[in-house]
Amino acid sequence: MMIADNKIELHIPSVMGYEKIAMECAASVAKKMGFTENRIEDLKTAVAEACLNAIEHGNKMDTSTKVGVTLTVEESKLQVAVKDEGKGIEKVIVPSIENKIEGKEKPRGWGIFLIKRLMNEVTFEPSPEGGNITKMIIYLEK
């Protein structure tokens, strides 16, 4: 883990379960910043889901790859950038619980839906060095 100025960077292996390390790290930072318990829980779920997407869909669970997580602390917000080494999101389908219950859609596919619902701002963009970055911002409520 690296700490420089207002940034904390960590790299986790592309193995399911390691998303919890990034999740707990983000929660610790948010707690230090003064986020409420409810918002910390929202952040934990969003960070875990972004890391899971990076591990599973971005890096295809290739253990030779890593997921980079950068936490940037600002006065009124926390930005979390999750970087994978993949080719990006081709098409985001809005999940339907009705279709999933009826078996018309696979039951999975809630990650991006949850991230968008729980964070204040979310963007998905290619990284200049290759791979993709999911950027999430959560604002500190005064």
Binding site: G17, E19, E49, K100, P107, R108, W110
Partner: protein, 114 residues
């Protein structure tokens, strides 16, 4: 056995209770599916999923629970949920799972509702 989760089965009258302690993910969720299959094979028509308030649930785990909710309709079972933290109650509501099952604050209240 997955070390991230422990699932035990108990019964109260005609309700089968799955006591779920630990993480609910795509991997650990297999233990929940196995326990659900067991009580279903034994003829359960009322199933209570009792979660651990401190447990971690991710989208893979939610998918497992959607699968169970879907199966329960085919099997004409009633599924009830208790033990969830307020955060995961909100998440279950967001994804729409609460359209197919009900969440109760305590096991006692869930059992009364069946």
């Amino acid at each position: 056995m997955n070390k991230d989760i422990q699932v035990s089965i108990s019964n109260k009258d005609d309700v089968s209770i799955l006591n779920i302690k630990g993480d609910v993910t795509a991997i650990s969720g297999e233990s929940i599916e196995e326990a659900y299959e067991k009580v279903s094979t034994d003829g359960a028509k009322k199933v209570l999923l009792h979660f651990d308030k401190d447990g971690y649930i991710n989208s893979g785990g939610i998918a497992i629970l959607i699968g169970i909710a879907s199966e329960s309709r085919k099997k004409e079972q009633k599924i009830r949920i208790t033990g969830l933290s307020s955060h995961f109650q909100k998440i279950f509501d967001m994804v729409g799972l609460t359209k197919y099952t009900e969440i109760f604050p305590t096991e006692e209240l869930a059992l009364k509702d069946f």
